[in-house]
Symmetry: C2
Subunit: 601 residues, 2 copies
């Protein structure tokens, strides 16, 4: 099999033709960059991915980390790979030059890390989490904290985690019980249990910097009494050398269906005197700091869903081209040789669906990354605020749609391979398992749907919602100008009319009925909005392809753009129309779910 892990042509299309990432080099922060430096980063990432990650993908899956009661053991290839990522600079792609980063725009960094994600899946979770942890301390920590914790993390000496979830609380952060007590030194002593902490213990780095949500004794109940602490595995002396072991104990490893290269741990903080912790920012503002990073974290999850789908698509496409089996129904001669399975219409359906899900979903993730860039580096304050508002609004969709449709794409990748897709000779079954986490972590699909309907739509007097509809209207206006696209433009416009009516109905209903009943189809609403947004992403891609075709490109590009238009057609014919039934359920205020009684199950 010679399947690429990602299509280079498609990444180029996404970055430079669809989103014009090159224009970012005109912004001061990126003025040292050029398309050449962006491409160099992409090539480095591809090389590291192919050399260090791809060869260990299956081995790490077959040999998940183990815990002997004292230490975590993992195959040495994971450390080699993590070190290679750090040494190549890819681990801190967006960080400042002066902190050892590559200072790349988020949209470019997203594509760069896509190679790592596609080839090694979650092994890169170690560096991604360290990066997220560093970003948070950079944003909210003191200069001393940055010096002490972030600099060694950026250098690859230390790793970082996010320690939020607790056994008794799960997604309900309001109920978390880990406590912090101020000690004589002005630091805190942190005690409690955390679970599902990715990278919570290992020997890949000298030290691990946990960012821990905890409650200072006497703090208000609920989400308003949560503070954020730096709790390192080893204390660090003023000269930067490691001090004594802090009270952070590994209680156990979880064994996951997929993503097995990355440890998922249960951690016990402060079993004796309390683990030493350092407050980040102010007391009781911990959740706000954490949520400050949440848009990025959620784009990362969506991206993982989409990229895992892109990889499975490339693999099953290659298989379908190579594998001869069966004959077309129209073949009259039963003794004719078998055809490549890509000739069977149903195989094409499953490949087209994968293309539509993966490339549509990934385009949305890149839009999210672009909005994140704009919210930080657009030239005017108004532009930055507008980008932030739109991103805030879109985040539950960016997190969810690729998370839900990525595994569906991987389902089709397996199905294209048939029995061969179910065994570990081929990576598609692993991709399917790896991808199944994405609808769960960083807020489940159900939680995202309530965030969208209950918070993001009405937020700031519907500012994000209106901005989203406005952006879609601009795309529709452009597409209307094209003979090839105007009917799709009309279909998207019609879908938006339905979306608006549905939104008004369901939000209006909360005035007169129980909100739990009114919102009991919130996931259908999220699916509806998601399909509309992905249709928009396809129409945007269609515009680029249509304009490129008008310039009579060379043959391989012509095929590429025709493929985009066919995937657009697939999405509009097969997937978009699903929304009308979902919209009806939501706007009929159907309460079947709500009315189901516990004792009837």
């Amino acid at each position: 099999m010679t399947a690429p892990i990602l299509s280079e042509r498609d990444l180029e299309f996404m970055l430079y033709e669809l989103f014009d990432a090159e224009s970012l080099t005109q912004r001061p922060r990126y003025s040292d960059h050029s398309r050449e430096t962006f491409n160099a980063a992409l090539q480095t990432s591809q090389a590291v991915a192919e050399k260090f990650l791809l060869p260990m993908r299956q081995k790490a899956d077959n040999n998940q980390p183990t815990f002997d009661g004292e230490k975590v053991h993992m195959i040495p290839e994971i450390k080699t790979a993590v070190d290679a990522v750090v040494e190549s600079g890819l681990a801190s792609a967006t960080a400042d030059f002066e902190l050892g980063g590559m200072q790349l725009p988020g949209i470019v960094a997203n594509a760069v890390s896509a190679y790592l994600s596609a080839a090694g899946g979650v092994a890169m979770g170690y560096t991604a989490l360290t990066n997220a942890n560093s970003n948070l301390i950079e944003a909210h920590g003191t200069p001393e904290q940055i010096e002490k914790w972030v600099v060694p993390m950026r250098a690859g000496r230390f790793a970082g985690t996010m320690a939020m979830t607790e056994p008794g609380a799960g997604s309900g952060l309001a109920d978390l019980t880990t406590t912090a007590v101020k000690d004589a030194d002005g630091n805190y002593r942190v005690s409690g249990s955390k679970i599902f902490i990715s990278g919570g213990d290992h020997d890949l780095n000298e030290n691990i910097v946990h960012l821990v949500l905890a409650r200072v004794k006497g703090a208000p109940k609920g989400v308003k009494g949560i503070s954020l602490f730096i709790v390192p595995k080893f204390l660090v002396n003023d000269d930067g050398s490691l001090g004594e072991r802090n009270e952070v104990a590994l209680a156990g490893l979880f064994h996951k269906m997929g993503g097995r290269a990355q440890t998922s741990t249960a951690l016990s903080f402060g079993e004796k005197d309390g683990a030493v912790g350092y407050l980040v920012g102010e007391e009781n503002k911990g959740l706000a700091y954490m949520f400050h990073m949440m848009n990025e974290a959620r784009i990362m999850v969506g991206t993982s869903g989409a990229v895992t789908a892109l990889t499975g698509y490339q693999y099953s496409l290659d298989y379908a081209r190579e594998r001869p089996q069966g004959r077309l129904l129209s073949e009259k001669d039963p003794h004719s040789p078998p055809v490549s399975i890509i000739k069977h219409p149903d195989i094409r359906r499953m490949l087209l669906a994968q293309k539509a899900y993966a490339e549509g979903g990934y385009a949305l993730c890149l839009l999210g990354a672009q909005l994140e860039d704009d919210s930080r580096t657009a030239s005017s304050e108004d532009e930055r605020k507008a980008a932030h508002t739109l991103l805030d609004f879109l985040t539950p969709i960016i997190k969810t749609w690729p998370s839900e449709y990525g595994p569906k794409a991987n389902h089709f990748a397996i199905q294209v391979l048939g029995g061969h897709g179910y065994i570990n000779e081929h990576p598609v079954e692993q991709l399917y398992r790896d991808n199944r986490l994405n609808p769960i972590h960083e807020g489940t699909t159900g939680i995202q749907s309530l965030d969208l309907l209950g918070r993001k739509v009405p937020m700031k007097d519907f500012a994000g919602y209106s901005a989203c509809l406005g952006e879609m209207a601009k795309t529709i206006a452009i597409a209307k100008q094209s003979e090839a696209l105007s009917s799709y433009a009309d279909e998207l416009a019609a879908a938006i009319v339905t979306l608006k009516k549905t939104t008004e109905t369901v939000l209006g209903a909360t005035q007169s009925m129980n909100i739990d009943a009114a919102f009991s189809n919130s996931v259908k609403y999220l699916e509806l909005f998601g399909n509309v947004v992905i249709a928009w992403m396809w129409l945007k891609q269609g515009i680029v392809a249509d304009q490129a075709l008008a310039k009579q490109p060379h043959e391989s590009d012509e095929h590429f753009y025709r493929g985009k238009l066919q995937a657009l057609q697939y999405f509009f014919r097969v997937e978009l129309p699903e929304i009308y039934h979902w919209a009806k359920l939501v706007s009929d205020l159907d309460t079947t779910n709500f009315d189901m009684r516990e004792e009837w199950f």
Copy 2:
């Protein structure tokens, strides 16, 4: 966790209230049976499942069989469990008393084996395949072959397999190349490679009886030149003792995503002189013999899909009742205690969906088993033929719908558990992996869709199709009499009108357009027909529940029947209406998939 592996109340409902299995005791073949003997078999199965299968479910998953180049090694619990199933008589539940069987009706045997399937998953594949192999030889072999091979299989001394698939052919049986040459003794020498042979080698039994599809030298090409052979691992002397090792070599084991307790093997036949094989029936009729058993095999796959969904549903239901997390949106007090997650409407949605998929799909599988019974033991030849025709028609739907919706149900089971669903502390992630095989084996979903549209619908001048519509019309007529059900009856009737129009359009189109283009949405047609049939199953269940409620049952039964009606409502509101979009795609003769060109991907 105290989740039952299956709901006893629901099995009782299905067998005795929905399908009246008790009436089968009036048939001569089952006259020694009674509801008491049926229940005794169910209880035996539940006891064996809980004692021998459930405790090894995860262990077998974590310790899949290995091959050291000479022998297959597996955890000893598998042999203990297989022996327990054989000794309890459950392995030959439908076989004649005189062959050591329990002579149970197929519908009862299906429910009996559901416990084994739910608790041990595929470990029971060993006995199920041995049973299927025995059934085939009983139907088409000589009395001597039955004596020599079936009797020891029924006794648990020998195991049996089905060896169809080849590396170069996959689902394309027309292209299989394993050869057979007649030898001086009148036997055959068989040579070739087979893959994905479940239970192809192990030490659970003294001997393994492979049923091998092969081509006699000089036979016609294609499917008309395939013969069926008994090829044992060890030859057997006339006194029944084992003779020398036959030329059947294990070439390797496949490592599957799920179903790991059961070996999946690559076998090499006749590497030297050819493996000794014994012809079953006549030359060149092998495929017909194999397909004779195909309805049963396909019901078995559908049943596996449905039962694995039933088990995941019970588990996630129990979890949702026990797990406190979060608050309802309508809760004004943020400091109120967390509620059981079953109180959240979206959790109820995911539980209701599982109930609708699992119980709807399982009802269809039992209908298939009942038709199989009727095709063999109904009192008149006409009834037997009618049952056979309807079963033949429904088989692609019975195979596919529960196979596709079973994994969807398991997806929701994981989602109900959140992060806990993704780790192996709970069985739902294993169920999800186990179930993923079902849309693949015994004919993929794509193949089933072409079987339905191209063969089963027009077969015998639309006899099966018309019979199916006729049966649905009868149910509708009954439901129309009930105030609670008449609107559902109308909805099903409307769905059938759409189904009929769609059928006429797509079959009519083959007169004027390329059949590959016309059938390029065949899977959507299968999905459409499937949802209509499952809606029918729910309406049938609704009629029973509605009539039972009219009799004012005691409280727990009232809750049970209300749950049935709510699941019916869920299916009709949420799932059935999906068909209108699918029907439009099919009857618009949309050729998006067909038109996609290979070079555009």
